[in-house]
Symmetry: C2
Subunit: 429 residues, 2 copies
């Protein structure tokens, strides 16, 4: 065993960083044995240097993150600051000064992954980021390495714990969105500004990362269709129940049936209660992967939290340290397939549509004609009268999103259609 310790610069010491530091200290002997050399915390960059940070030598604390990554003796930079800048510049500077990087930064990876991978490659360094998607759940490594000999056709997952907590509450208690969000906030599952979670931005970043890895294709954040879950209602859950379904906010990355293109999207969807993702409770995450040879796999666990995320960061840290000792690097970006990313209109799935209609004869025929004209085939229709008004619930067969959008536009123009109460995709069948 070599004895010169590997030096680690920790950028950020918040929810995740403080746990990384804690585990590096408490599990130091195990890490040494597993890596083959000791790892040493060489510096900790923060914004507020005067905060008390338990278990961390105050001499290590600095506000000058740039100077830390430029020191030249740093083996691995662990970036757990978050956001685009200064994280991006710090990572690039780290590569330039000889360090490898472990990051948990999904926003940055989704936006600038290609450039960061290129910088890592140019300097012969590693860029690992298991913690960026689904927290503690080993997912990047299984997709990138375990399934490297297989052909992945679909990755469908619950990758945001906040929204899963809210939807699970709505499902189990009949609560509305706002009430469930308030509870999530009170319990610390939602941030004061929950936009990134509930509008699907966080999940979209993860979808871009997952699609890129699964399909060996660059998928930019802009390529990901995104719809939040703020408009899901208690009535939608009631409709889902009638169909033997529940509602989840899903990140779905798919290869088209002809294999020639891919799509990535985030939106709420109904999934059958029998689907393994349906029983993912609370703030847990789970990702379902379908491939040619392996078939259906699922990975389940805590998608966030300081210690779980630190577990993923440390797994990467051990790998990167081993690579450095062995003089090797792990797998870099794999984008050779360079498949086109199709727009949402090309996505083919099923739909559950609730219409408020006039309660008079001939409405169903009119509505059915509109569906037929747009090539959207109807699976089931249920008509319910209520005080002169009626509702019509239509579940379609598989159709393209473009065809469905055209159908809905035309439906809105019908006199007899008072409103489109909800449109929900049906997945996982």
């Amino acid at each position: 065993m070599r004895t010169r310790p590997l030096k680690v610069a920790l950028l950020g010491c918040g929810v995740v960083g403080s746990e990384v530091a804690r585990i590096m200290t408490t599990h130091a002997d195990d890490l040494t044995a597993r890596i083959g050399a000791p790892v040493e915390l060489a510096g900790v960059a923060v914004r507020r240097p005067d905060r008390v940070r338990e278990g961390i030598d105050p001499a290590l604390i600095t506000t000058d993150a740039t100077a830390l990554v430029k020191r030249g003796d740093i083996d691995v930079v662990v970036e757990v600051i978050g956001g685009i800048e200064p994280a991006r510049s710090l990572i690039t500077t780290a590569f330039e000064h000889g360090a490898s990087v472990v990051s948990a930064n999904k926003a940055l990876l989704a936006q600038d992954g290609a450039a960061l991978h290129a910088a890592a490659g140019e300097h012969g360094k590693d860029l690992y980021y298991e913690a960026a998607v689904a927290g503690a759940i080993p997912l990047i490594r299984p997709l990138r390495e375990s399934l490297a000999g297989d052909k992945i056709n679909r990755v469908m997952g619950i990758v945001n714990g906040t929204t899963n907590f809210i939807l699970d509450k709505m499902d189990s208690t009949g609560a509305g969105y706002q009430e469930a969000l308030d509870e999530a906030t009170a319990l610390g599952y939602a941030e004061a500004d929950p936009t990134a979670d509930v509008e699907g931005f966080d999940a979209a970043a993860k979808a871009a990362i997952l699609a890129g890895i699964a399909f060996h294709t660059r998928v930019r954040l802009d390529d990901v269709y995104r719809e939040g879950m703020t408009e899901v209602t208690a009535a939608d859950f009631a409709s889902a129940k009638e169909m033997g379904c529940t509602i989840k906010l899903l990140a779905i990355c798919e290869r088209a049936a002809d294999g020639a293109s891919v799509t990535a999207r985030v939106h709420p969807a109904m999934i059958p209660l029998s689907h393994p993702l349906a029983s993912v409770r609370g703030a847990y995450n789970a990702v379902f992967v379908e491939s040619d040879a392996a078939g259906q796999l699922m990975f389940y666990g805590p998608g966030a939290g300081g210690a779980p995320t630190a577990s993923a960061v440390l797994g990467d840290l051990v790998a990167v340290c081993r690579n450095r000792i062995g003089g090797a690097t792990g797998p870099g970006e794999s984008a050779y397939a360079a498949l086109p990313v199709s727009p949402m209109g090309d996505v083919v799935t099923r739909y559950h549509i609730s219409l408020d209609v006039a309660d008079k004869p001939g409405v169903l025929a009119q509505v059915a004609t509109v569906f037929a004209e747009h090539g959207v085939s109807i699976d089931t229709v249920r008509q319910q009268g209520k005080d002169g008004e009626a509702s019509l619930v239509v579940v379609t067969h598989r159709a393209s999103d473009a065809a469905l959008t055209g159908t809905v536009e035309a439906l809105r123009k019908l006199d007899t259609v008072r409103g489109v109460a909800s449109i929900m995709r049906v997945e996982g069948e």
Copy 2:
């Protein structure tokens, strides 16, 4: 990209091997892109050379596996023959002649893993075996790499598809063991001689491998307590249902509460219906992992079958090829913790015991006294009379297996206890 192809020797071309060969051919371009060099099938060793093997150049077929691995130009040997010999000698010879090895052979790895790892290390070669445990499910790599910075406390899994299929049938149809086994055989889920599966030998081999990796400790096959599932009855399932449980054949690897020792065992057990493992249906496998930082993770998927197992083999093949090109090796055996493996008597869990007793006053008091004398604390007792006979169902609090065994021995000596109808461990609470 280098252009000299990496040469692969395939040992065995049966259920798994034929799929490995097929995917190597159909996915050749993808494999080349992912590895960074083409991979070429250099030879295929079988027992019966004259069988028609679709898609395989007959010139590659040989019955002389030893000569194939001794050729000297082989980069990777894929061993999918199975069994101890000649697989063991072939793998050792492969290392001696400069090849790395990918194997799916759980029996061999469980029995001789340490020696094979030593041989690999001595020659600076890789030994990968993701397919040996839970087929397609990425498990070895996540445990060995993703969780390398964490402390795993328990690995509990359904790692045998045949027995899960049988138990699931018994649960859902009320069938007895023999009837469910017959169906599994008819459907090809059970082999003509199902002993290795139903007596838990297969699961025990996997438990030894998993415990070794999870605890960084050598765990021999003999260290694994093993109890098959042939004695599970429809009555046991009825009892389980009353407790809100089902019955699964579980492989359980645990770190003792004080962290100073580990245990590994395979036996049928009741688990609550709310536990994620309870809903693993049919021949699927799933493994639940508990660690200090990550918390609870689950990995789910097909545990066997030609294509799924080949997916795992090919993931390893890609990794080993990348390592060769990079002049590196992956993580070898990690047994530095060298924790003692405790006997079954030290395992602490809960128990469900059904007793046939005389239907007269004072029996319950007598029975309760025996439990108390052995330090086994009772959680609930249910008494049921039936025609002069009565049954007593006792569910205990956590107690050591040794204490429970002592209790049962003493109960058998009571005049009023006619028989011990069943003893079942209760896990996952």
